[in-house]
Amino acid sequence: MDPRGAERCIESVCKEEKMKRALLLGLLVAGVSVLVEAASGAGPSPGVALGSPGVVSRDGKVRYVAMQAGRSGTLVESITTRGGTVRHARFLKGRFGVPLVAYDRSTGGLSHDGRRLVVYWPASGLGHAKTRFVVLNPRTLRVRSRLTLSGNFGFDALSPDGSLMYLIQLKGGSNGSGLNYDVRALDVSTGHLYPGSIVDRREPEEKMTGIPMTRSGSADANWAYTLYSRPSGGAFVHALHTTAREAFCIDVPLAVRDEQLGRVRMRVTADALVLRLGRKTLATIDRRTFEVKH
C-alpha cells in the first residue's frame, strides 16, 4: 500500500496551548467514572483503565478487567458477559491496568487471536522512569511474561497474534510538555524494542504529536486506526499496520468544532474508514489509497 496525498500533520505550538488543549480534550472525552481510573493523564497515551468496562473478547463472551487490590496489588479477572460469572482471577503484585488507547475510553491489550492479554502501568515522569508490562494467557490468566522498559511508554496496539506490541514512547520535547512521542514496536517474545521508531516513511523527519480521540480496528486486526487531535487544532488519522510495522498519517479536515471532536466515532468497512458525528458522516477515507472524501 502506497497512499498518495496523505499529509504529515505536525505543527508546533506553544507549551501552554498544548497543555490546555490536551487537558480540555482529556476532560471532555474521558469523562469521570467511579470505576475507571485513567493513569498518566492527558497526552498521547490515555493510560490505563481499572474496573469496567475493561476489554471484551472478540466473540463478546468474556470481559477482562483489572482491579486495584489493596495498596499495591492488582487482580486481573475474566468475567462472562452472560451471567457475570468470574471465570478466572489472577493476583499480580504491583499496579496494572487494561490499556486505554484513546480518550473515548477505547481499550486494547487483547490480541485478535485471544492468546495474549497485556496489562501495564504507566511510568511517572521521564527521567529514570520504568514502564512495566505483564503479558497473560487470557484463557487461564497465567502470566506468560513480564517486561520492564526504561522510559515512559504507553500501550498503543498489538499485532493480531500478539507477537508485536506497539508503544507510545514519550519524549520530553524542547518545551518539556511531554506531548512529543515516538511510536515503537516491541517483540513480545524477546522483550526487545525494534530499533528506530514507526514513522510515515514519506516524511520520516516529522515529529509525532497529538491526542488520541477514538480508535477503530480492521476486522483482521492488521490495521489500527486512531483519530488524533492536533495540539494546534484539526485532526488526523494514524493508520498503523500492526503486522508490517508501518504507519501513515492522514490529514482529515473535519467540519466540527474542537469540543465536538471527542464525539466523533469511526467505523471500518471493507474498503473505507468512516468518520461520523452522530448520524452525520464527516469523512470517508479509502483504506487503500488513504484518499479522504467529504
Binding site: M67, A69, R82, G84, T85, V86, A89
Partner: protein, 270 residues
Amino acid sequence: MRRTLALATMLGAVWAGVAAADGGGPSPGPSLGPPGVLDHARSIRYVTLSAGKATLVEAVGTRGGKILRWTSLRGMLGLPMVAWDGSMGGLTRDGTHLVVASPFFARSTRFALLDAGTLKVLAHTRLPGSWAFDALSPDGSTMYLIQYLGRYGSVSQPYAVRALNWDTDRLYPDAIVDKREPDEKMNGQPITRAGSPNGWAYTLYQRLGKRPFVHALDTVHRRAFCVDLPWRDSVDWIATVKMRVRGETLELSRGGRTITRMDRKTLEVS
C-alpha cells in the same frame, strides 16, 4: 484465588469427611470466587475474590459482566454457602444487605454487614471461636449463626443456632431451638436451602442413622422448628432433592417430581 479455592475445597473435603463420620456438618462455610450469590432479580451477582492480603467484594452485572461496584476489605472474607448443594446466602431478599464472613477455622470469626447498593461496610463483628453464617432476616438486622460448641472439626461436632443483632452488635441470649423439643441436639448436614418472601429459611438436613428433617427458621421472629421427613434409605439420593416454596407449601422434589409436601403453617408433611 485458586489457592484459596483449593484451600476451601480441601477444608470442605476434610469437613465433609468429618461430617460423614459423625453425621454432623452444620455449614459448608464461606466461599471465595465463583459463582457468588445472585440477587432475587438475577441482575446482579455478588462475588468475593482473594487479592493478596485483601478481599475484593464485587457486584457484577449479569448482563454484560461489568463490575458495577466493588470494595476492598482487609483479610480473607467470603460469601456464605449455606448448603452442600452450593446454595448461597448472605444477601437479603430485597437485595439491600450483604454479609461476608471469614473462614471458621481460626480462633475468632469475622463478619461484615455491607450495604449491597454501595458495598460500604455498615457494621462488622468478631466472635471468639468458630462460627458460620446461617441466614439473615429480611431487613438484614438479625443474622443467624451456627456456633461450633466444641473444637472445630471434632468428632460429634456439637453446635447451636444463634442470632446476632446487627444494630447492637450483640448476640441474643440462648440458642434458637425447636421449643417443642428443646433438649434435642442439633446435628446433620445441610443439603439444600429454600427461602420464602416473608423470611422463612428452610433447610433440608441429612443425619447419619436417622431420617432427614427440614429445619424451618423464622428469621423475623427468631424461632425454629425441626420437621422430620418420612424418608427411608434416602442417603443415596437425598443430594438430588430440590426444595421450592410455593404459596403455603414447601415442595420437595426429586427428578422433577414432587415427593413430599410440607404445610408451612401446620408443619404437617404429606
